[in-house]
């Protein structure tokens, strides 16, 4: 049931049965019996150098997944096998003392460049902090490394930015600093959670280009979390579509866009506005708004909104992933009939 990576090499990240439940508190002394199934048993792999897009609407669990991969959240259940050279571990169960070593290999870029940076610290402080935490180099060496990275992310001349504060930078420049901070430890894997959604279109493209170029040059893999499918098209080799804690479809980006096989993916794609008034979209009707992930019924998560629901969907648990094409998988019983 696990979707294999397109490349036959050993995957960098291999996620199996990953789960995160948040208990809903109903009073101080009661044991919670209701849970938000934020991430509800998902599997995926990311090959070295690959960029996997995780798309879906708000509340589908995509950010929770990203946070678990960098250990900002602990998984309730499941495995995250991380293979970086001779470092091969299931980091879902890594102990607190070992977490530091793992964190030198993975990084995260956050959505909001205005909030992810300490306003009282200079660019040098922000970018060199991971080096200080991991006790890498002397202060002059760190300064050199920070200058190198600022140049790499296009903040030139780097000397001019070293001792600036976040309020002296524009949104695009801040996001460049965030990228420099994420790359300073030479990570193999970066989780980018909507890194461009707060930026204006013109600035967005240069940040997207920068991230792609650096990934190619430094061999970094991304988990690219976004709600914007048009952005995902340019940033990701493969796309995984999430709905209510489940991955419902995964496949190569252009294949998913051209030939979506899950009813939810089809609805999602048909709702994306197109920047060309000559093109009229074909509407795909789905029912209602997004459901809640509190103690969901065992059937397919999409059952209440799906226009193709049949008996098979009512009588069976949430479907496994079926192979529907080269590296293309979908979790739908009726995919061949729609």
């Amino acid at each position: 049931m696990t979707a294999p990576a397109p490349a036959q090499t050993m995957p960098l990240v291999e996620v199996t049965g990953l789960e995160k439940l948040f208990p809903i508190s109903r009073g101080m002394f009661r044991t919670p019996n209701e849970f938000v199934h934020a991430v509800d048993g998902i599997d995926f792999v990311i090959a070295p150098g690959e960029s996997l897009g995780l798309v879906g609407e708000s509340g589908c669990g995509k950010s929770t997944t990203g946070r678990m991969l960098v250990k900002l959240l602990d998984a309730t259940d499941g495995h995250i096998q991380f293979n970086d050279g001779d470092y091969q571990r299931d980091v879902a169960n890594v102990s607190r003392t070992e977490i530091k070593e793992f964190r030198s290999r993975v990084q995260m870029i956050f959505q909001d460049p205005y909030e992810s940076m300490n306003p009282r610290r200079t660019v040098f402080d922000t970018v060199s902090e991971p080096l200080a935490v991991h006790k890498v180099g002397t202060i002059p060496e760190r300064e050199e490394r920070v200058l190198e990275l600022l140049g790499l992310v296009g903040l030139t001349p780097p000397q001019n930015f070293l001792f600036r504060y976040p309020h002296e930078l524009s949104g695009g420049q801040r996001q460049r600093v965030a990228i420099a901070r994420a790359l300073v430890m030479n990570p193999r894997f970066v989780v980018a959670d909507e890194p461009t959604s707060m930026l204006d279109v013109s600035i967005r493209i240069s940040i997207m280009e920068l991230m792609t170029e650096l990934a190619d040059r430094l061999g970094v893999s991304y988990l690219y979390i976004t709600h914007d499918l048009a952005v995902a098209r340019y940033m990701c080799d493969r796309i995984a579509v999430m709905y209510l804690g489940k991955i419902v479809e995964v496949g190569p980006t252009e294949e998913i866009l051209a030939n979506p096989r899950h009813p939810y993916t089809r609805a999602l794609l048909s709702a994306v506005p197109i920047p060309d008034p000559k093109i009229k979209r074909t509407p795909v009707e789905i029912k209602g708004g997004i459901s809640k992930a509190i103690n969901p019924p065992p059937q397919c998560r999409f059952i209440q909104r799906c226009p193709f629901t049949a008996q098979i969907c009512q009588e069976n648990p949430h479907p496994d992933m079926f192979n529907v094409g080269e590296h293309h998988y979908t979790a739908c019983y009726r995919t061949n009939e729609i």
Partner: protein, 346 residues
Amino acid sequence: MGLSLEGLQTRRVDPGRPLLEVEGLVMHYRIKAGDVSAVDDVSFVVHQGEAVGLVGESGCGKTSTALALLRLLPANAEYLSGEVRLNGEDLLQLSEEGMRERRWKDIAMVFQGAMNSWNPVYRVGDQIREVLDTHFRGQLDIDTQTGHIERLFTAVGLPPEMVDRYPHEFSGGMRQRAVIAMALACSPELIIADEPTTALDVIVQDQILKELKRIQTELGMSILYISHDIAVIAEVTDSLGVMYAGKLVEYGPTSEVFSRPRHPYAYLLLRSTPSITGPRRRLAPLEGEPPDLLNPPSGCRFHPRCPFASEQCVVEEPPLAEIFDGHRVACWNYEKVPELEMELVR
């Protein structure tokens, strides 16, 4: 969806007739460091039944323009010149009382994040009732009001029994629908919708935009959309204006501007917009940052970032001149702007 616009006032539209005429609007914000030239000589017309879009990046003056039309600007804003005529009457000359009578009744607004502005301790229906009370004091009894509000709810795709619910019982999309219901309450001729769907998920956005389109065409209303989202503007508007640094740099029929943008900024904006359909075009980034409006650049405000700039652009400001019927561009070198090329990647 079985929406019904039954019982709501329908207008007969005279398509060529101007409804809102904005002419030479200049507005500054006074701050300690000086004057921020936020809206500088903006002119456009919204015709009856027309959907017009203003598009641009943050800080380009599109929201300031909307607020200026409604006279909802903060105290440090100053109108320097211009006229805003609604059916021939200059709104900027009205008394505060006169302006208050026009809001909601003649021009309604749907603001960015308005869905979060509901008062949490009042029922949503009662908050819409306030608008009716203000404009039809004593003319409508409570049952007529309730009936009307229920019809408004139906029109925007909300179950009519929701009128008695509190805002926390609505999802984000439902709250935004309720904002649109409130905007429709007094059957205005014009709705100003500033980023009406920006915080919403794409499927909900699509549903709400479709309903706005339906309401606009079937009730004969005009809508002024303000958005940073070029794809949304492409789909919902008939005409569009592109704003940059407080200036309207291009204005014309949406289909024409999109197929052949003539202003370098509009051209680059379209080239940097990703799409999920069609071949994968190479996206072109726009170099540099928008200018500081305390000290806008000399000549054309776009010249420091413009790949087509000439010496004239540095010293002389280009007027917004009509180059084709209804298509206006503020650029000395618009003829140099090439056709949108389709350079493919991989």
